[in-house]
């Protein structure tokens, strides 16, 4: 029995080889081991969606993944959206639509919407709401968040959304 295992995981395009505790969840690994604190930890029981990251392009809750499960996979976190000083079009849409107040939930929404955008589907407001239902916000009341994602999907060409 070993308490730790070695994993090789690609995070935001960088390959990391790390020794991880098998009991650690993926969000803690990203924050504590890699220092990527953009992924927030809320409920740690799969309800609030703060810790949403992309695993092989799919939105998942990092608190419900164990760190050893990342081995051999590719992870994208909110840090991947704007590598430089300029905001990603989705982040800009959130800013323009006043889709954040305290900002704690924002990484969860951004990553969920990033995966959604890459699907290239045309979505109604209700469908957007349903797709975002796995992330909770206690400040804005969702209207502005839905508006931001709606504008982003309408105004950003599908190709650009895929090329993050």
């Amino acid at each position: 029995m070993s308490d730790t295992v070695e994993i090789t995981v690609t995070v935001n395009g960088t390959v990391h080889r790390e020794q991880v505790s098998v009991r650690e969840h993926a969000a803690d690994f990203l924050r504590h081991t890699l220092g990527l604190t953009g992924t927030h930890v809320g409920c740690e029981q799969g309800v609030c969606g703060m810790c949403t990251v992309l695993l092989d392009g799919q939105a998942v809750k990092a608190c419900l993944l164990l760190a050893p499960q990342l081995d051999g996979h590719e992870v994208e976190t909110v840090e991947s959206l704007a590598p430089g000083e300029e905001l990603d079009p989705l982040q800009q849409a959130f800013k323009d639509a006043h889709a954040l107040q305290c900002g704690f939930c924002t990484p969860g929404f951004l990553m969920t919407a990033t995966a959604l955008g890459r699907e290239g589907r045309a979505l109604s407001r209700d469908e957007i709401r349903d797709e975002l239902a796995g992330v909770l916000c206690r400040c804005t009341g969702y209207e502005h968040i839905v508006t931001a994602v709606e504008r982003y999907l309408a105004e950003t060409p599908a190709r650009e959304r895929a090329d993050v």
């Binding site: 009991r23 799969g46 809750k61 969920t112």
Partner: protein, 288 residues
Amino acid sequence: MKPAPFDYIRPATVAQAVDALDQHAGMARVLAGGQSLVPMLGMRLMRPSALIDINGLEDELGRIECSGSETTVGALVRYATLERSPVISERLPLLAHVVRYIGDRQVRNRGTLGGAVAQSDPTGEMGLVCLALGASVLARGSGGERTIPIEQFFEGSYANVLEPEELLVALRFPLAPSRCRFFERGRKHNDFALISVVAVGSEDADGRWHDVRIALGGINDRPVLAPAAAARLEGARWDAAAIEEAAQLALEVADPPDDVRASADYRRHLVPVHVRRVLTDLAAGEDR
């Protein structure tokens, strides 16, 4: 949150997974999507000696296969795959529809059909649909594979007949009846169901219904069929009187719990109301 210590095992084959289950003699848990298991580990509602991570077994457990009228869905097929699979939407449209009521986008990207059935949550949608569609559970143990009719699978709340060293490997569905309707009510969006109802059947040219099955979730300690209600409607035309009788007959199987979400009396009240509505909608041609 951190789970209690466990041995993390990542088998390369189903045979290795079964071996590992055998070695841990009932103290291990299988990690599939982890959307129910991982929170339970964090809350220490479970303290397994080992976690057997089957996520690397896509080749053996992640397939959807058709053979004649039968459709076999591997235990590791994720909800999101069921949502988008053209094969599932053509052959098992009820399954494709109901999967959207589970959790949220993130949960559906990870959660698996086999995991849901093995979890045997009495309010779970997948167990209910498997029951309504008369699926079989394929389980593999050290002695080989066996097929368990879903009617004999659930034993109680979060309990089923799988042996400790058996791995659920697939669900096999017979040809689905052409018509189906699902309803679910919870206290809030995405919450556990207070009641869920499925009715399936086929209507002939004379307006008579055949192969009628009615299943209830969230009402008993496991998903249950309502055979008396289905028998009342089998071979019959569904007028308002027949539907009302069937709705009342559905109460025969109801043995609801009192819990934080609702009283037993309230759940019993909901049964005929929602069975009637589901049947009325189905008779009116409003499927799904």
